[in-house]
Amino acid sequence: MKNLKLKAARAAHDMSQAQLAEAVGVSRQTIIAIEKGDYNPTINLCIEICKVLDVTLNDLFWDN
C-alpha cells in the first residue's frame, strides 16, 4: 500500500526524495519503494525517517 503520508510529510519539509534519502542514510530507490508501498522499512529506518521529518511513527506508518 502506498505511503502517501510520508510523501506529504516530505513535501511539507520541502525535501526531495534524494535529500530525504541522504539525511536518513539510505538510497533514493529505497525512499521511492517505501512511498510506493513496495518495501516495508525496519523499525530503525522508520524511526530515522520520523526524526528527520519531525513527526511521530503513528503520523507516518500507522493506518488510521
Binding site: S16, G25, V26
Partner: protein
C-alpha cells in the same frame, strides 16, 4: 582435453582463484573500496543470491538428466561447467539490477551501467568472432569455447541495459 593441456589449465585456474581471494580480502580490509548497501538493497541481494544459486542448480540438474539419458551434449566439460557458474552469477546480478540493488549508495550507478554495456558488447563480439573462426562447431563436433565469452558478454550487456533503463526511469519519477 589432453593431460598436457589440463595440468597448466588447472594451474592457471588456481592462480586466478588465489589472486581473486587475495583481492577480495584486500577490499574487505579497505572500507573505502566497499560498496555500501542500505537495508532494502541487502535484502534484495540476499534474495538474488538464492535466485542465482537456484538457476545454477536447475542448469546442473538438467545437465545431469541429459547425461543420464545418454543425450549427446556438443560442449566440452569445462565449457559446460563454466556456463553453469556464469548463468548463476548472471541471474543474481540481473536480479539485483532489476530491483536497484546492484550499485551501492556510494557507487556511481550511471558510470557502472555504461561500463557494463561497453564491456558486455565488446566481450560479446570477441566471443562471436572466436566462434566464427572455429566455425561455431569445431572438428570434434563440439561447440566452440567462444560460447563462454559470448554468453558472458551478453549477460553483462543485458545487466548494463537494465541499469540504464532503471536509472532513466528513476530520473523521471517525482523527486
Amino acid at each position: 582435453m589432453t593431460f598436457e593441456i589440463f595440468v597448466p589449465w588447472v594451474v592457471v585456474l588456481l592462480i586466478v582463484v588465489l589472486l581473486g581471494l587475495f583481492f577480495s580480502i584486500l577490499i574487505r580490509k579497505n572500507h573505502r573500496m566497499h560498496s555500501e548497501y542500505d537495508e532494502r538493497q541487502k535484502l534484495i541481494r540476499a534474495k538474488g543470491k538464492s535466485v542465482g544459486f537456484m538457476v545454477m542448480l536447475v542448469y546442473y540438474a538438467i545437465l545431469a538428466l541429459l547425461i543420464l539419458f545418454d543425450v549427446r551434449i556438443p560442449m566440452y566439460t569445462d565449457t559446460m561447467l563454466l556456463v553453469g557458474i556464469m548463468l548463476g552469477a548472471g541471474s543474481a546480478a540481473i536480479y539485483y539490477s532489476l530491483y536497484d540493488a546492484y550499485a551501492g549508495m556510494n557507487d556511481n550507478a550511471k558510470r557502472l551501467s555504461i561500463i557494463a554495456v561497453a564491456v558486455g558488447a565488446f566481450d560479446f563480439f570477441v566471443g562471436l568472432q572466436n566462434m566464427m573462426s572455429d566455425h561455431f562447431v569445431d572438428s570434434h563436433g563440439m561447440l566452440s569455447r567462444g560460447i563462454v565469452n559470448t554468453l558472458l558478454g551478453g549477460i553483462v550487456f543485458i545487466l548494463g541495459m537494465i541499469m540504464i533503463v532503471r536509472n532513466w526511469k528513476m530520473k523521471h519519477e517525482e523527486s
